[in-house]
Amino acid sequence: MSSFTRRGFVVSASTVLASSIIGLKPTFSQSNYPNRPITLICPWGAGGGTDATARIIAQVMEQKLGQPVNVVNRTGGNGVVGHTAISTAAPDGYTIGMLTVEIAMMHWQGLTDLTPKNYTALSLMNVDAPAIQVKADSPYKSIKELADAIKAAPPGKLKASGTGQGGIWHLALVGWLQSLGLQPNHVAWVPSNGAAPGMQDLAAGGIDIVPCSLPEARPMIDAGRAKSLAILAPERNPQFPNVPTLNEQMGAHKSVGVWRGIAGPKGLPADIQDKLVTVLKEVYDSKEYKDFMSSRGFGTQWAERAEYGQFMDESDRQMGEAMKAAGLAKA
């Protein structure tokens, strides 16, 4: 695989070279960065939440920078291809990308060697914590009751769904079960193609619990088919003020949900980092971005550079723990 992207590096370098020889486009110089379009790689397909987030960021960046910012969906390999493309791009600031939580998960499964360390962390843009959903008419009124019911039930009796085997919400559930002192498979995991089919199966009565983010659960909650018992985050989500936090009800439990951030390849020059982080901060504070994120119900959280790097490392560590516990990590 790396042959592909290493070639990408050679090519982009030679592209610059070739275009400077032909003289059609000026070479880039650091001082007046950016003077040509920037590519923002999105490792997931068009139409999803990551794609939508990348596009709104690109759009606002474009206004602030005065240069086009093109979102390029580099899909394939379940996110590996796009993440690799970001890490192996030329570190000239003209190719950056959106990292997603999968970068902290895939290497544990032995799918890639990439870890958050392979990037120049720029800024964290979005975090969505998991919440625990049950059917609207289920007997559990609170997360406490649900926890007691889980403890009382024989292993494998209750079923949960919301993503594929070893996906982020599966790990969130495993983490919570462990904090209750239970085995990771005490609640059986039913793999699904994402949260929406999981929520549908919840409404249809096929499963008992769906851990997923609140924006993903919202349609079924609004339709009166499901209810959310608790959000596994330190604070309530302002979009969903009625959903209590797990901490309020049962005491602290740390859980990382999905997150998305912007990063470049390793070795991005400091002045370009400065410029990009400044612009990304402006994007983050812009009305367009806030409006978009709140309309989708996506949570926003800011962290820049080293701080974002630490955030990713922490996420990486937690994912590794949960995956090992669930028997999903490669030795």
């Binding site: 695989m1 592909f4 397909g45 068009a46 139409g47 999803g48 939440g49 794609d51 939508a52 596009r55 709104i56 759009q59 979102v71 390029v72 969906n73 580099r74 899909t75 394939g76 390999g77 379940n78 996110g79 590996v80 291809v81 690799t84 499964q109 799918l111 890639t112 494998g156 079923k159 769904s161 594929g164 085997q165 070893g166 996906g167 059986a188 039913v190 793999p191 699904s192 193609n193 929406a196 089919p197 929520m199 549908q200 199966d201 409404a203 249809a204 096929g206 499963i207 919202r218 349609p219 079924m220 609004d222 339709a223 009166g224 088919r225 978009f292 309309s295 989708r296 119900g297 999903l328």
Partner: protein, 500 residues
């Protein structure tokens, strides 16, 4: 009533009308390029919708996706290169009609019955949304398993070759669907250490390979066929009324099947077209004509896939559950524009809802004149010499496949599937059956495995649940019927001898 008037006012705003017109043209162009799907057309519209009013934003998505699904028929009919997986079921039939000099009838049927199907689907959306939504919600993985299984069985019906070879092709398709880690276990399978294969093989590169590239290969090794008699296309709609009257039963059946399949999340236009084409053949009085350029199957499948497109919006609007990838994108746009999906959309924002209905109808009506123009423009392809068309198609295959994920690996897949498709076709293995296997494979496995987890390993719920039981009966009888007939024919004469 006031709300209805308000809805008309919303739709007839100039910006909405312009959005509908432009995105229709855009959808027609993209759908007709091999390798570019309706989903992609929709996804590329999203950044544009940022600048539009809520109604105009949704209108552009509705219009573009409806047009793209129809215009996917055009390259299938003219060049035997289906534009979308939904067209693959009846591509051979439509192409046979073109070879018989009936291209305009085939395309006209695609257009006319697509438009009617779209309108029927919209009516179902207006009248029965809550009922249909309830049906969709009661579909659990058990039902999906039977549905997917039933879909796979269409492979044997659609092909005109030996059923054993059709089944073998379908199994090869299922095997292809196993590649990657998109399986219930999340285990990478048959990836041979290639990272690009982790995500599995997308249907689009496979489709482009087995249809378009293999067609180019076939053309290059064979002498130029006698040119089609050069003539102007006749009226595109002329025969359609007669077809509508003759095949109204098939059309209605197609509409109903399309509406039901469309409502089910995860089963979209692709499956609707396959099931309807297969049903049409199974129940036809003229089965022998199928595959030789007979419009009956086109009528039913065309009516079905566009109906499913409209009814796919039911779960999307009521519960925010995407019926397919197109509505998944549309849901995002709805949220962004403050039209949050949910039952309240139907009550509190009734005028917006009515406006959406009107847009659906409008899009399907203007599909007819725009589609006619598109067909006329595309008909020049038939007159161009093969030596100029085929090279351009080859480049389009490469670019179209690349565009699905901006990944050159897809182009390698296209080349590989081109060779596979050519070899299969030459030896009587229908490639359409393989495409069906690739499209349905994940669903069969996923629904089976997850059902067993939910039932703690018991097979009973597959037969116990009411809808599941009905589907199971249908599947098993369809499965056993040919064997029964065969046995009956084989042993019956012997028994008679014994008796006499």
């Amino acid at each position: 009533m006031n709300e209805l008037l308000e809805a008309f006012r919303l739709v007839l705003a100039p910006d909405v009308l312009i959005a509908i017109l432009l995105s229709s043209i855009y959808g027609l162009v993209i759908g007709s390029l091999p390798g570019l799907s309706a989903t992609m057309a929709t996804a590329l519209l999203v950044p544009v919708t940022f600048y539009l009013s809520p109604i105009a934003a949704v209108a552009s998505i509705i219009a573009a996706s409806a047009m793209a699904i129809f215009s996917g028929d055009i390259p299938g009919c003219l060049l035997r290169i289906p534009g979308t997986p939904a067209s693959a079921a009846y591509t051979d039939e439509a192409y046979a009609m073109t070879r018989n000099g009936q291209a305009e009838v085939a395309l006209g049927a695609g257009l006319w019955f697509s438009a009617l199907g779209g309108i029927a689907g919209t009516i179902s959306l207006v009248v029965m949304a809550p009922v249909l939504a309830e049906l969709a919600l009661n579909f659990s993985t058990y039902e999906y398993f039977w549905l997917a299984f039933l879909g796979l069985m269409c492979a044997t019906l659609v092909a005109r070759s030996s059923p054993v070879k059709a089944i073998a092709s379908m199994l090869i398709g299922l095997l292809v669907a196993c590649i990657g880690m998109e399986n219930p276990g999340g285990v990478p399978r048959f990836t041979f250490g290639i990272t690009e294969l982790l995500g599995g093989i997308e249907p689009i590169p496979a489709l482009v390979g087995v249809f378009a590239v293999s067609e180019v290969i076939r053309a290059i090794v064979s002498p130029e066929p006698p040119p089609l008699p050069s003539r102007k296309f006749g009226s595109i709609l002329a025969g359609q009324l007669a077809l509508t009257i003759k095949y109204w039963r098939q059309m209605t059946r197609g509409n109903i099947v399309g509406i039901i399949i469309g409502v089910l999340p995860g089963a979209g236009a692709d499956m609707a077209a396959w099931v309807s084409y297969a049903m049409s053949k199974r129940f036809s009085k003229e089965r022998k004509k199928f595959g030789t350029g007979h419009p009956e199957g086109l009528v039913e499948a065309g009516a079905s896939n566009n109906a499913s497109l409209a009814s796919g919006w039911v779960p999307a609007l009521l519960f925010g559950i995407p019926g397919d990838t197109i509505t998944a994108i549309a849901i995002g746009v709805l949220y962004m524009k403050g039209l949050n999906p949910g039952p309240t959309l139907f009550t509190e924002r009734a005028s917006s809802m009515y406006a959406l209905y009107i847009i659906f109808i409008l899009a399907n009506i203007i599909m007819i004149p725009l589609g006619i123009m598109m067909i006329r423009a595309a008909s020049y392809i038939l007159r161009a010499p093969r030596a100029t068309i085929m090279p351009v198609i080859l480049v389009c295959c490469a670019v179209g496949a690349f565009a699905t994920g901006n990944n050159l690996f897809a182009v390698i897949l296209v080349a590989a599937f081109g060779v596979i498709g050519y070899a299969m076709e030459n030896n009587g293995f229908p490639v359409a059956a393989m495409v069906l296997g690739i499209v349905m494979g994940t669903m069969v496995e996923q629904s089976f495995v997850t059902s067993l987890i939910k039932s703690d390993g018991s097979l009973l719920p597959f037969f116990e649940r009411p809808v599941s039981a009905v589907l199971a009966t249908m599947t098993i009888s369809a499965l056993l019927w040919p064997a029964f007939i065969w046995l009956w024919r084989r042993f019956r004469p012997g028994q008679q001898e014994q008796m006499s």
